[in-house]
Symmetry: C2
């Protein structure tokens, strides 16, 4: 292999010496990998630090409600697993996952989602974040193209960036990715390696793809023979309307890398998720997982399998749905009551987020600065667009705040937005006069 | 960024079409990332599958003894954590790690190892395997050089390969890496990004670096200002002799990325490990962990912290030492008794492995084939040399088998080796005649 020479294939990055960072003390230099130019601290993580003061009403995070976590049940589960299978639960285990859990996951998918996935198609991952990372690690070389929704999930952008892709946003409306634009891009761009989508209650937009869009996109997937990552963290948390089939259940499912997780329906702190895919890509992802962390926690996998066998996860999901639906309803009602008419927002049928578009000319970062003074927080929308822009958008989370806080927080936000619009209008008048 | 063109920087890889793999059915092609040329199934994993039949005596794996796992104590720990802190234990948590655990780890390191690490220098990882992966992700571009011992840990080779480095083996003897050869390589090779070492009871060789070698290598680390990854999974499992200071406790410690783990002294199935490093490299590693899996399991971190506060880990380590020392003693005694005099092996002062050198001309893979027929297994040494060779070496594990099995297994191995040497000698005589 020839020595690495950044100048041969990358023109928009600083020269090598700029990738040299300094140890504390400042006298010693450390050379970092080229990819670290792309891996930056998430703007949202910085905002979330500001919002952790207890008196802040935060619509910024993406946390499930702690009321939905089965802590009591897990005492029983933990005790049983450790007493009956302690040696196995604390030992190394296969990279692919604990076999009974792989079986339970495939059965559950097939029963609830209409898929035809076998236990051998399932890899247990340490959160869906790991599924995103490993998929890109297997499929992406520097400069390759990922097609994604516009906006798309920030955590996926963060995972993918370590492999130095180019992101191309496909036009997206209230019904999902627009097939004509997707077809245009698949026809004209080279080195597209996969499409990344969140069809149900998308993070950040709260939008859900229509059945027709799912079918049209899968028609293109089959025609262009292109892998598609279907990220479904919220699919089971539907408040109303009928469940729509995942891409993984449709013709061409061998092209779909399905990411499912227990984080939003069980608890996120156990980092239990899965990836369902066909060979050969699944085999390659398993190999990269072996190098990345050997296997997902054995104890946690056995606890989850025991929970699925002894408790009713579906009933827990139903309780979660009731809770989040009430919170969404309060947020929508109060937005309707207090937000100015020039502001628009989505009406999610499930999940944890909704998406707000302010009048053009407003900057959500400036609005956030003012809102933080009034002890209410949200996340600006711009970081969800990998290629920038859309400074007038923002994301609001309703799963992690109770109804009273939602009502107060929305009213405070409305006041800040109203004043900003007034300033914008009077500024506009001054400019015109 | 320009389109990726493998031909610009890599001459020893197949052309692009050879990296195209086929979905089941065979009609659909999938393009894989260039790195997947390097990421192969571990030869050892395949051997381990053969050795899982219950009647096989296996010295092949690297499993801690299940007798040392604190399953009973963990019932109490789990119940307390879930009852008292259930909501927190099941929620998302910071990428850096659970703050009390970071503090407990830094205090323990400083008390037992003579380091001066602060809680902010510690990142909790999902096993040390993740520490290996993230370190290479931050530091390695394709074609960069990693200096390592000869032989070195197979799992590290596997993690690093995904980032397409060149491995350069530094001469290694019974006292550790040879400083004159290390100096020669640091002086003459370009694009060396880090040195990777396992100074205590190395996997696979069982060797321990002398104090003088530690000092000499750290002198070179300071002079050449080169990061060094010090991987210490076994350091606390010392049977005899005095504890030697880790590189992380010596002058120049800011260049040391220290990997510690609870896998060998607590249990591996919980995947609890840590990485201690200075800024800026630690900050970059934390950022890449955020993209890779958000954070290590919250529940497991809180269970471990609770265990460290309520139970005596050092006493558990002492029991582990007693057990492994007995097993090592039996293995060494029986090798002395049964192995032919032309075979040599190491005498580890701790850890889980010893290393055998057969007469030149013997192939450990062929010996393994014969041994499997007699229901005893080990791992050939060749895969532990990133650049190949050394087919006459092999690794034996003594932690996972009881004394009776060790005695029987060693005697069976000795018989196979003796016959192979006889065949070699008679073959040599035939060739000479």
């Amino acid at each position: 292999m020839l020595p690495y020479d950044a100048s041969l294939w990358c023109t928009d990055c600083p020269a090598d010496e700029d990738r040299t960072q300094y140890f504390r003390g400042g006298s010693m230099a450390l050379h970092l990998a080229h990819r670290m130019e792309k891996v930056k601290a998430s703007a949202i993580r910085e905002i979330l630090k500001l919002t952790q003061e207890p008196d802040i009403i935060s619509f910024a995070g993406g946390l499930p409600a702690v009321e939905t976590f089965p802590a009591e049940d897990l005492v029983e589960v933990s005790t049983r697993v450790l007493k009956e299978h302690g040696e196995q639960a604390l030992q190394y285990s296969p990279t692919e996952g604990y076999p009974p859990l792989r079986r339970l996951i495939s059965e559950r998918m097939n029963r609830r989602l209409g898929t035809t996935v076998s236990p051998e198609d399932v890899l247990v991952t340490s959160g869906s974040q790991q599924g995103l990372d490993l998929s890109a690690k297997v499929l992406i070389d520097p400069g390759d193209i990922i097609l994604c929704e516009s906006p798309t999930y920030l955590g996926a952008i963060g995972a993918f960036k370590a492999y130095e892709p180019r992101f191309v946003e496909v036009e997206t409306d209230d019904n999902g990715m627009v097939p004509s634009d997707l077809e245009n891009k698949l026809s004209t761009l080279e080195n597209i390696r996969f499409i990344y989508v969140i069809p149900d209650f998308q993070n950040p937009s709260g939008r859900t793809w229509s059945l027709e869009r799912r079918q049209a996109v899968m028609e293109l997937v089959r025609r262009f023979e292109i892998p598609i990552i279907e990220d479904c963290p919220y699919s089971e948390v539907r408040f109303e309307g009928r469940h729509l089939p995942p891409l993984k259940s449709m013709e061409g499912s061998e092209w779909v890398i399905y990411l499912g997780t227990f984080s939003k329906v069980f608890c996120p702190g156990m980092r239990m998720a899965w990836l369902a895919a066909s060979q050969p890509v699944l085999g390659k992802i398993i190999l990269t997982k072996q190098g990345a962390d050997l296997h997902t926690q054995t104890l946690g996998q056995m606890q989850l399998a025991d929970y699925l066998e002894h408790f009713d996860l579906d009933a827990n999901i139903e309780r979660t749905i009731q809770l989040y639906r009430r919170r969404r309803d309060v947020m929508l009602e109060k937005m309707e009551e207090f937000f100015p008419s020039s502001v628009s927002w989505t009406h999610p049928e499930g999940g944890m987020f909704l998406w707000v578009s302010l009048p053009e000319g407003l900057d959500a970062y400036e609005i956030l600065d003012e809102c933080l003074k009034e002890k209410v927080a949200f996340v600006p929308g711009a970081p969800f667009f990998p290629n920038g822009g859309h400074e007038n958008t923002l994301r609001m989370n309703y799963s992690a705040s109770d109804s009273e806080k939602i009502a107060v927080g929305v009213e405070r936000m409305a006041g800040v937005i109203r004043r900003a619009i007034e300033n914008l209008d009077s500024g506009g008048e001054r400019a015109a006069s």
